[in-house]
């Protein structure tokens, strides 16, 4: 069985460099030496704030931007000089870019029509593609008669009808409302399984990235900050940017001192030390440690594997499932925590200004580069 062995990547990008020139004549790096490969059936998300280079990277794969340096291979073929219409990829555009003068059926069948597929086969495949996105029967409609979600589905059907090796999606869900976006996230994921092709999905929405991806590539300033499975990215961010961009985090800066029994003490300015399990690799000097808000509790299950931080309660807000609280330590460090159940109820009964202790497992603090 070949399916279990790692297959050759669909896309292989090496040392991609691309600069843009501002109207003032300055050169702004959009891609500053990117290496990326996408597996045959992988769902890869390019995630980052606007201007991080994610859309540029996508457009170099589709061929709308040329690289200054580096190479792009698709299915083992060098693509640098291949124009967009000759590349075996298709794109779902941000605002769908449906042809307003063509019907839904003509839009979806456009890719087949320009390739000279006979009408009979074309109509059948248009029906199949629309069926996959749950829109069969609406061939005669004009795109302007469709809702946003329906237009989204037509754009999807149009992009998959050529059976591309790779589907590129440029923030396709950003124009939809929250509820529809969640539905479309599930549908996109199952569509990808059904088609068995690679998806490269661009978004600035971290929740979307965490939900759908096999692998997340976090970009900032034209560099890949980190790539890995959603849980890896969330639990073990490699730097402050990733920790900050994905989810919420509390970061503590200090110097590490060895303690007893494999423990370490992070000495913080003006506060009691933060106790943590000493990281496997020896780190010296100043470093940063991250704790997620949901890693705190008020009633630890056991005393020995937990440590606490103390501070004054400065804010609390009930946001549905969690009670969100903010403490301020003596040294002035704010700590954000999301507490649930009994923990939440306990702190809900406390007044602002009260001194409280928040507990965390000593395994929880994650060391990131200083």
């Amino acid at each position: 069985m070949k399916a279990t062995t790692p297959e050759a990547p669909v896309v292989e990008i090496r040392r991609a460099i691309k600069q843009f020139r501002t109207p003032e004549g300055q050169r702004v790096p959009a891609l500053a030496g990117i290496d990326l490969s996408v597996g045959a059936k992988e769902f890869v998300t390019l995630l980052g704030p606007s201007g991080c280079g994610k859309t540029t990277l996508l457009r170099t794969i589709s061929g709308f931007e040329a690289l200054d340096e580096g190479s792009i291979q698709i299915q083992g073929q060098e693509m640098n000089r291949v124009p967009p219409h000759a590349r075996p990829v298709n794109t779902v555009f941000q605002n769908y870019a449906l042809f307003p003068h063509l019907s839904v059926g003509e839009n979806v069948g456009y890719g087949l029509s320009v390739r000279g597929v006979p009408k009979r086969e074309r109509l059948q495949r248009v029906g199949e593609a629309l069926e996959m996105v749950g829109m069969n029967g609406l061939q005669q409609r004009s795109p302007s008669q469709l809702s946003g979600g329906q237009q989204q589905r037509v754009a999807l059907a149009r992009a998959i009808i050529n059976r591309p090796a790779l589907l590129l999606l440029d923030e396709p869900l950003s124009a939809l409302d929250r509820h529809l976006r969640q539905t479309m996230q599930r549908e996109l994921k199952s569509l990808q399984n059904e088609l068995g092709i690679a998806f490269v999905f661009v978004t600035h929405d971290q929740e979307e990235a965490l939900t759908m991806s096999d692998r997340i590539v976090v970009l900032n300033g034209g560099h890949i900050q980190q790539q890995g499975k959603p849980t890896e990215i969330y639990d073990r961010p490699v730097n402050a940017f990733v920790a900050e961009f994905i989810g919420e985090s509390n970061r503590f800066r200090g110097t590490l001192e060895p303690g007893d029994g494999g423990l370490g003490r992070l000495c913080l300015a003006g506060d009691e030390p933060l106790v943590l399990r000493r990281p496997a690799q020896s780190v010296a000097g100043e470093l940063q440690v991250m704790l997620r808000p949901e890693q705190f509790c008020v009633h630890p299950p056991s005393g020995d594997r937990y440590a606490s931080l103390k501070g004054r309660l400065t804010a609390k807000a009930f946001v549905g499932r969690d009670l969100e609280v903010i403490l301020e330590t003596r040294g002035g460090q704010p700590i954000k925590a999301a507490l649930r159940g009994h923990d939440g109820q306990t702190l809900a009964g406390r007044e602002l200004g009260d001194e409280v202790a928040l507990w965390y497992a000593i395994d929880a603090p994650h060391v990131i580069a200083a």
Binding site: S62, G63, F64, P83, P84, H85, A86, V89, N90, T91, F93, Q94, N95, A97, L98, F99, P100, H101, L102, S103, Y110, G111, V114, R115, G137, L138, Q140, R141, S142, Q145, S147, G149, Q150, R158, A159, N162, L180
Partner: protein, 292 residues
């Protein structure tokens, strides 16, 4: 008291509206009415309803004396109409083609001095006709080009390309470039994308520009007056020549026919435009699932 005031105000507004349209259309209606007046001496005094002026234009038998008509006008008139149509059609074809291509180039490519080129393309539109006419005349004489249909066509193209350029540019500005990218993405080469996506979407602009060019070319007097030769008179220049020999009622009939022709052209333009807009008819779908 208050209701009376509102009532009076409403009346005043209606009166103003009527006056406004009278201001716009009274002269034109007057000319149309006079074209059916049989009084050959003084057209302001109504005699009888007659079609003789029209008959005279088309060379049909009529009961008018030669002194009441512009002498041997019919052949000359038809020749002028022919010249005008030749000029207008050629000019429209050429200026629409060049104007559209120029608009595409300026909209789709980035090059040095782009703003300056854009300015140069605007200039002929604001240039006074009289200056353009004299300049063209001097130019044709200096390069030794004989004045005639050819010189009129070249002269008209010099400023009509600008008109088409501006109309098509406006349309292109509203065209999402991602539609062209989507076409390329789906496998269409540049020519296919132009033919199947770009051109249909800018067609209303191209048609509008062509209509504008045709009407302006048909109508132009000042520039054409300078650059038309003796044997190549366009209709406006010909009519201007007639007027200089005194106003006779026949002119009213010619004017009325011109109005009809303009209305016909405008109607065709509107028809083409609407056809374009309803290229994807909003056909009600019977097997229509509920919208999500």
């Amino acid at each position: 008291m208050k209701t009376l005031l509102i009532h009076v105000r409403k009346r005043l507004l209606t009166g103003y509206g009527l006056l406004f349209f009278a201001f716009l259309y009274a002269p034109i209606l007057l000319i149309v009415a006079y074209s059916f007046n049989s009084n050959p001496i003084n057209m302001m005094v109504w005699h009888d309803v007659t079609l003789d002026w029209y008959r005279a234009i088309f060379g049909l038998p009529h009961q008018l004396g030669d002194s009441e008509l512009y002498a041997d006008s019919t052949d000359q008139l038809l020749a002028a109409v022919r010249t005008s149509l030749t000029v207008a059609l050629t000019t429209t074809l050429f200026s629409t083609l060049v104007g559209t291509l120029t608009a595409l180039a300026v909209a789709r490519y980035r090059f040095r001095l782009q703003g300056f080129y854009r300015f140069l393309l605007f200039m002929p539109m604001v240039m006074p006709d009289i200056v353009l006419g004299i300049a063209l005349l001097i130019f044709f004489i200096s390069v030794g080009m004989p004045l005639g249909t050819g010189s009129i066509i070249i002269g008209h193209c010099t400023f009509l390309i600008s008109y088409v350029f501006i109309v098509v540019s406006a349309r292109l500005a509203g065209l999402d470039t991602r539609l062209e990218e989507a076409s390329a993405d789906l496998g269409a080469g540049p020519w296919t994308t132009f033919r199947r996506i770009t051109l249909p979407l800018i067609a209303p602009g191209v048609i509008g520009g062509a209509m504008l060019a045709f009407i302006i070319s048909m109508d132009d007097l000042v520039i054409t007056y300078f650059i038309s030769g003796v044997d190549s008179t366009t209709l406006p220049v010909f009519i201007y020549g007639l007027i200089r020999r005194g106003i006779k009622p026949e002119i009213n009939a010619i004017a009325t026919l011109l109005i009809l022709a303009s209305l016909a052209i405008a109607a065709i333009g509107l028809y083409l435009r609407n056809k374009q807009h309803s290229a994807t008819p909003a056909t009600p779908d019977k097997t229509d699932p509920a919208n999500d």
